[in-house]
Amino acid sequence: MKKVFFVLILIFGLNSAAHGAIEISTDHRALFFGVMQLGEEKELADSGTYHNQISCSSTNGKPWYLKIGLLQPLTSGSESIPVENFKWQLVWTDGLGMRVSDPHQFKEFSIFADLVYTSAADEASSNPVNFQFKYYLKIPQAQISGVYNTIIRFTLTEIL
């Protein structure tokens, strides 16, 4: 009876491991545009070519994807900056999969998440794939002064 019990545990353990883990990490540099004037444009790239780095890895053997989106437009009280004035750019990745955006162009944020990257078939064996982003903001000429906030959300999940 003891033997049977041991075998069952072993099978369960193998089954769990087969599903693997999925991980996301960042250097988490602050996104701070500081004080800007009406009509001003600013790029945020404090590391020279990029601003922050996101890393994704998976050990489950399944392809995965990374999306980026805003939870809401930049908002201060009842005022908001049009979402198309805030942009992101994936300037570099060491991934071999499919990057969606042009590395030389900013892309407007959306409150619906935009696809950043879909992994290659062999990028699910624990080696991290790194992504370097920079950001751009233009303040409209008629914008009301205030402290504007938002949340950028990165979503990582395996492809169904």
């Binding site: 996301i24 540099r29 890895s57 504007y148 950028i152 959300r153």
Partner: protein, 256 residues
């Protein structure tokens, strides 16, 4: 409020307080497969690992509905929106948790299946970091784990190979419609036959085992390992969708 000369806008996305924070977390498993009888309840534990971070991690656990987008990724909808949703049946314990740096913590996902449930049901369970600060807003990360529920003994598999086409120079598109009531992950082979009907190439169809939701069509793209020389060929797809029958389709092509 609007100043003609100098109207400063302080655009704050993340407070400077958090500049040095390194954030990383993982979940395991990344896919949760459950087989539960109608009217029964079962659970699964997911481990959240904060061992690589140097800050505490606040995680919120919630489930959303899942649907396909044309780019092969998914959209996530409010629980109960899709006909294959089990998002409202999921209870996460705890729903929110704080994990110290260097630690892991478990979340129990419990799923109660209604008596009338039949076939497969799906949801994406998200583990989302944040809030990251006392004031202002910042970056949130969320990892989604697919919850794949089969109601024991009620599954019904049926599929149709809806279309096969060749996109020059090397791409093959195969569309599969899932007529059954559970998610299927078709696999198989694609053969290239020459004018005499002899197989000259063969490669796997859907090696990552991507799925097709019930009552949904998915387009699968495969690429020939190398371009074909000029001539007449047939592309033959043999696809196993989990029954004793194969889906088979042939497409004649001409390369000039």
């Amino acid at each position: 409020m609007k100043s003609k000369y100098f109207c400063a806008l302080l655009v704050l996305i993340l407070p400077l307080l958090f500049i040095q924070e390194v954030k990383a977390f993982s979940i395991e498993p990344s896919r949760i497969e459950l087989d539960i009888s109608a009217g029964k309840q079962k659970g699964k534990t997911v481990i959240i690992d904060n061992s690589k971070s140097d800050e505490p991690l606040h995680i919120k656990v919630y489930a959303q509905d899942i649907m396909y987008l044309p780019d092969g990724t998914n959209d996530f909808l409010a629980p109960g929106t899709t006909e294959w949703s089990c998002a409202n049946w999921i209870k996460a314990i705890p729903e929110e948790l704080d994990i110290p740096p260097g630690k892991t913590q478990a979340v129990r996902l419990s799923l109660a299946v209604p008596e009338q449930a039949r076939g497969g049901y799906y949801a994406m369970v998200f583990f989302e970091s944040g809030p990251t600060m006392v004031q202002g807003l910042g970056i949130n990360f969320r990892i989604g784990a697919l919850l794949d529920l089969t109601v024991s003994g009620t599954e019904y598999r049926k599929a149709e190979l809806a279309d096969i086409s060749f996109i020059k120079p090397r791409k093959i598109e195969i569309d599969i419609f899932n007529e059954g009531n559970i998610l299927m992950r078709p696999k198989g082979v694609i053969k290239i036959l020459n004018a005499q009907g002899r197989k000259i190439k063969q490669f796997d169809f859907n090696p990552p085992r991507l799925g097709v939701l019930p009552k949904s069509l998915r387009k699968f793209y495969s690429e020939l390992p190398e371009a074909l020389a000029a001539g007449t060929y047939r592309i033959k797809a043999e696809i196993d969708y989990g029954t004793k029958y194969l889906l088979v389709a042939e497409l004649p092509i001409e390369i000039r």
